[in-house]
């Protein structure tokens, strides 16, 4: 999907032009020390074979889209011990089924026929098969030369009215910062439809009561302390 690359190039040039180096001087005790490769390290025993037990790429993917059936081998465990290049072929079908299952759950809660309430193409224009193919290959993309934005559905820098649909004015999928609301982004991608607000607690008959469920935001934001300097996370509570 090629979009207006000039926007990104402009952003890239701007970001290179600023060249702010990282300031690591005011959070904790800093020891600027070139002697870490000391003899102690060489004498330590790190031998042995280590076998993979857990995996994470994009946040929340295995937890929300893998589904364990009672009495069957755990799909979640299998996902954690599958290499990324084999994930899409292994897990996409199950992820898509799970995504549709979530919609069926709400169809029933709304008193509707589950056959009538299906996933709709999301703000990225992805159908269910494509979205789950992308998500099944569970890696986190991070751009070395661009600002980090997991996805900000609120940007419409060119004021063309397409607030939510990527049209070239977004810098997105460039990493994950601790203040990115990745749960809301995932919910919007799953339940938001083309405009991102398909199930967002709408009051359709204007009686002051929501008629559609609120599925596109969990309603919470960052509560922990984070920092602009290394190591970026707040001291333990």
């Amino acid at each position: 999907m090629k979009l207006k690359q000039s926007i990104y190039i402009t952003a890239l040039v701007a970001s290179l032009g600023i060249m702010v180096s990282c300031s690591n001087d005011d959070n904790g005790t800093y020891m600027d020390d070139d002697m870490m490769m000391d003899n102690d390290m060489m004498e330590l025993d790190f031998s042995g074979t280590f076998s993979q037990v857990d995996h994470i790429g994009r946040p929340g993917i295995n937890t929300t889209l893998s589904y364990d059936m009672e009495g069957e081998a755990s799909v979640k465990d299998a996902h954690n011990t599958t290499i990324p290049s084999e994930m899409a072929s292994t897990f996409q079908m199950g992820f898509q089924a799970r995504l549709e299952q979530y919609h069926d759950v709400y169809a029933l809660k709304l008193g509707l026929d589950p056959a009538d309430v299906d996933y709709e193409n999301n703000i990225l224009g992805l159908d269910a098969a494509t979205l789950t193919t992308v998500l099944a290959a569970d890696v986190l993309e991070v751009a070395p030369d661009l600002p980090t934005t997991y996805f900000n559905p609120g940007t419409d820098l060119d004021n063309d009215g397409n607030v939510l649909v990527p049209d070239g004015d977004e810098v997105a999928l460039t990493g994950r910062h601790p203040n990115d609301d990745i749960i809301d982004v995932s919910l919007i991608l799953f339940f938001g439809g083309m405009q991102g607000d398909r199930f967002s607690g709408q009051d359709l008959d204007d009686d002051g009561m929501a008629d559609l469920p609120r599925l596109t935001s969990d309603g919470v934001g960052l509560t922990a302390n984070i920092s602009t300097t290394f190591p970026y996370l707040g001291a333990p509570e």
Binding site: G48, D54, T63, D68, A143, R176, L215, P231
Partner: protein
């Protein structure tokens, strides 16, 4: 539409759900959940606008729910940050971290001699080491400009996990209104700590990616694994 009754019944349904779901990767699977190798979360970001560095944050364990092994790094668990440059989803560079005697030792970035599910520590590619912190952050920076940290930190992940479980419950009266409005929703992870490993590294040490994301932007494709000594 959202009623207190529905909320309480949702919580009741939660207790009967066989697979408790917590994101981001917090407690994601039966075999790793609650162990010292359980990855809670992963962040990768540009530390400041225009920086030539990338920051990787790996959170292991979370104390948000009882019975989790929060508190120490397991010396038999090797954490690997995998970096794919060309988009084939096979790691081209790895950064390793493993605890020993109160310090966290880092290796790489190095092209792995074997990819896949088994690893060994690349001792010939030592990157640096740092004392495992207590409440005060102890950080090191290497002559290459790599910053290193390991220790307990606040878990920055935020999610109304209890309501999520009510939302996904198939019980018809469980959270029919979906998630709660902001004034009623609660961050389940508020007050939780995690065991964090943080590496800030110049991009020049990782290589130039040819992989692109869905918007055509150049990206590293990254993931984290924990690996237990056999």
């Amino acid at each position: 539409m959202k009623t207190r009754k529905g909320y309480l019944m949702g919580l009741g349904a939660l207790a009967t759900i066989a697979a408790i779901l917590v994101s981001a990767d917090h407690i994601d699977a039966p075999s790793s959940a609650g162990t010292s190798a359980d990855i809670a979360d992963f962040y990768a970001f540009e530390p400041s606008e225009g920086s030539d560095n990338t920051v990787f944050v790996v959170d292991l364990q979370s104390n948000v729910l009882p019975d989790l092994a929060y508190g120490t790094f397991d010396e038999d668990v090797l954490t690997e940050i995998n970096i794919d440059l060309d988009g084939d989803l096979v790691e081209d560079q790895v950064i390793q971290a493993i605890a020993k005697d109160g310090r966290m030792y880092f290796f790489g970035p190095v092209a792995p001699s074997q990819t896949g599910l088994n690893s060994s520590v690349y001792t010939e590619a030592a990157l640096g080491d740092v004392e495992i912190s207590g409440a005060t952050a102890m950080v090191e920076t290497t002559s290459d400009g790599v910053s290193l940290f390991a220790g307990p930190r606040q878990d920055p992940f935020f999610f109304d996990f209890f309501q999520f479980n009510a939302v996904i419950s198939p019980e018809l009266d469980s959270a029919p209104g979906g998630f709660l409005p902001p004034d009623e929703a609660a961050d389940t992870f508020d007050g939780a700590n995690t065991m964090s490993i943080v590496v800030e590294i110049p991009n020049s040490m990782l290589g130039t990616p040819t992989a692109t994301n869905a918007l055509g932007l150049s990206v590293y494709k990254t993931w984290v694994t924990t690996n237990r000594k056999q």
